[in-house]
Symmetry: C2
Subunit: 336 residues, 2 copies
C-alpha cells in the first residue's frame, strides 16, 4: 500500500511529518505488506531533514514539489498556480492511481477543492463532507459536515449520515452506529425546513437513525454520528474546540497558582492525563473527507509525529472501506 503524505502541510512541517511517516512505516502493515510513504515537497529539504533527524528512509519515496499552498491562498489555485505545490503533486499521484490514499495537514479549503476536482466524488455522492472525530465524555463521535459545504440540501445530509455510519462501523469499530441530526430540540418538527426534510430522509436511509440531537448531546455520546450542514458543523466544531481549550487553560491556571496547587497537580496527575488523552485528536488521526473516490485525510494543522502516524493508520484502514461507502450510497438511492 502506498500513501502520499504532504511533507509541507501543517505547523510542524516537515520534521514532524517525516517522523510520523517513519513511525507509521515501523508500526503498520497493510495486509502483511509494508506501508510505503510518498513524501511530496522540496526534495533537497526533505533529504537534509531526514539526515538531520537521523531517521531511516526505508520505504519512503520523495516526489519533488515546488512550494506550498497556504491557508490564505485561493483554494482554487490547487488546480492552477499551485498545481506543483506539495499538495498539488500529491493529488496528481492520487488521481493517477500511483498511490492509494493521501494525508495532509495543509489548507482544508484547498484539500476539499483538490479532492473534489482532481480526485473526484464517488458515484452517486452529491457533496463530499469533512468528517472530524470529536471528543465526547465517553469516546469519540463523528461530526459531518465539518465545513466543506456551506449550504446543504436534505438529500446531502442523508448521504452524510450513511457515509459517517459506515466509517464509524468499519474504521472505528462502533457496532450499529447511532446517527443523529443536529437540531434545536428533540421533537421531530424542530429546526429549519432543511432539518425537517433531512429528518424524513434519514428515517428512510439504511442507518440507525436516532432522531434529532441537540448541541450538547453528541458530547454526552448520545449519538456516534452527528449530521449537519457545513456552516453549522464548522461553528459547532470550533465552539467545542474553543471550550476544550478553555478547559485546558483553566486546568493549567488552577494547578500553577501556588506551591500548594502544584502539589495538588502531582496528586491528581493521573486523572489530568486521562482527560488529556480523552480529548486528544492525535489519538484518532485526522478528519476523513467522505465521498471522495480515494481516501483523503485532513490531519490537524498542529499535528505532531503521533498525530501524523495515526492519520496514516487511519488512511490505511480507510482504503478497506471505500467500497462499502459506495455500496451504502447506492443502497440509499434505492430506498429513496
Amino acid at each position: 500500500m502506498k500513501i502520499a503524505l504532504d511533507a509541507f502541510g501543517g505547523d510542524n512541517a516537515p520534521d514532524e511529518v517525516i517522523k510520523g511517516a517513519v513511525s507509521a512505516i515501523a508500526d503498520f502493515a497493510a495486509g502483511g505488506s509494508p506501508v510505503e510513504i510518498i513524501l511530496t515537497g522540496d526534495e533537497n529539504t526533505i533529504k537534509s531533514r531526514i539526515s538531520a533527524l537521523g531517521v531511516s528512509d526505508k520505504n519512503i519515496t520523495i516526489v519533488n514539489a515546488d512550494g506550498v499552498i497556504k491557508i490564505e491562498d485561493d483554494p482554487m489555485s490547487i488546480r492552477t498556480t499551485k498545481k506543483e505545490s506539495s499538495m498539488g503533486k500529491a493529488f496528481a499521484l492520487v488521481a493517477s492511481g500511483e498511490v492509494d490514499a493521501f494525508v495532509s495537514a495543509g489548507s482544508t479549503a484547498a484539500l476539499v477543492v483538490g479532492a473534489t476536482m482532481l480526485v473526484g466524488r464517488m458515484k452517486g455522492v452529491k457533496r463530499p463532507a469533512l468528517a472530524p472525530l470529536m471528543p465526547g465524555i465517553n469516546g469519540f463521535y463523528m461530526l459531518l459536515d465539518g465545513g466543506a459545504n456551506m449550504e446543504c440540501r436534505a438529500d446531502m445530509l442523508a448521504q452524510f449520515g450513511v457515509m459517517g455510519s459506515i466509517f464509524m462501523q468499519k474504521i472505528m469499530g462502533v457496532e450499529n452506529p447511532r446517527v443523529g441530526l443536529l437540531n434545536v430540540g428533540s421533537e421531530r418538527e424542530k429546526g429549519r425546513e432543511l432539518e425537517m426534510k433531512a429528518y424524513e430522509a434519514l428515517q428512510n436511509a439504511p442507518v440507525n437513525f436516532v432522531g434529532n440531537v441537540e448541541g450538547r448531546d453528541p458530547i454526552a455520546n448520545l449519538c456516534d454520528v452527528a449530521v449537519t450542514d457545513g456552516f453549522t458543523g464548522n461553528i459547532y466544531l470550533k465552539a467545542v474546540e474553543g471550550m476544550g481549550g478553555f478547559m485546558k487553560a483553566s486546568l493549567r491556571e488552577i494547578f500553577s497558582a501556588n506551591a500548594g496547587s502544584k502539589v495538588g497537580y502531582l496528586l491528581s496527575k493521573k486523572g489530568v492525563k486521562a482527560l488529556s488523552k480523552k480529548t486528544d485528536y492525535r489519538e484518532v488521526g485526522g478528519s476523513p473527507l467522505l465521498g471522495i473516490k480515494k481516501p483523503v485525510i485532513k490531519a490537524h494543522g498542529s499535528s505532531d509525529e503521533r498525530a501524523f502516524k495515526n492519520a496514516i493508520g487511519q488512511a490505511i484502514n480507510f482504503c478497506g472501506a471505500i467500497g462499502e461507502i459506495e455500496a451504502g450510497i447506492a443502497a440509499l438511492k434505492e430506498e429513496n
Copy 2:
C-alpha cells in the same frame, strides 16, 4: 418599580423563585424606591411556601394563576388554553402596564411567543432575539440570537448587533462593545449568503463591528457580542454548555479518583472555585429577550435563589435601557 416573576417557572419552583424574590427585595432598589415583586401562580401554594420557608412577604404581591405552561406544551397555547397559567397571567400584567418587567425560568418557546404577541415588538424591530450571556475565558459575552428565530435575514442580524451592543454597554458596563459576526472564517467573503449580506449591514450599523468571528473566538473574548441566526446560535450555545459540563464532570472525576487526588482538590480548591464562578450563569442573571417593548428575561431552567435574584437585578437595569435600544434601532434604520 414592579417586576412580575413567574413563581412556577423552572426546575426549582416555587421555593427558589420565592427566595430569589425576597433576596432581590432586600438587596436592590430602583432609583431609591424599593422593588416590588408580583409573583404569579397558585396563590395558596405560594402563601404556604412563604410561610414554610419563614421568609418575609414584604413588597411581594401574589396574582393567582391556574397551572403552568410546560416545555412540552404548544408555545402558542400561551395565548389560548394557557392564558391563565403563571406565565400567561404575568404577560397580561406586562401588557397592561401594571408591571415594568418580567422574569421567568419557564418554557423558552412560550416566553418568546408571549413576549412577541402579548407584549409586542419595539417599533422598527423585525424579530426579537434571545440573548444569553455566555462564559468566556476573561468574562461574559452576549450571543444572539440564541434560538428565537430559526431563519433570519441580514437586516435582522444587523438589528441583533445594535441591540446586543447597547445592552452590553448600558447593563454590563462594557465600553464600546466589539460586535462580531459568527462565521466559518475571518475573511469578509466567508460563509453563506446570509453572512455576506449581514457583514455589509453590520459595517453600516452604528456599532463597533470587528468583522467575522469563528466559533472559538467569542470564548477567547475576541468580541463582546456574537451575532448569528437563531438556529446556529442555539447549536453553538448548547455545544458550549455541553463542553462546559464535560469540563466540570472531568474535574469532579479527576479530584474524586483516590485519596491523593482528594488532597489535590483541597490544595487546588481556590482555583477550582474561581473557574466555577467564571462559568456560572447565576452570576449574570438570565437571558434577556431583546427587541420587546418591555424587559423580559428568561432565567435558566435550573435557576436557584441567587440566579433568580440576579435575573431580577438584570430586569431592573434593563428597564433603563429600553429607550436607548429603541433609539439604536431608529439610528440603524436611518443609516440604511
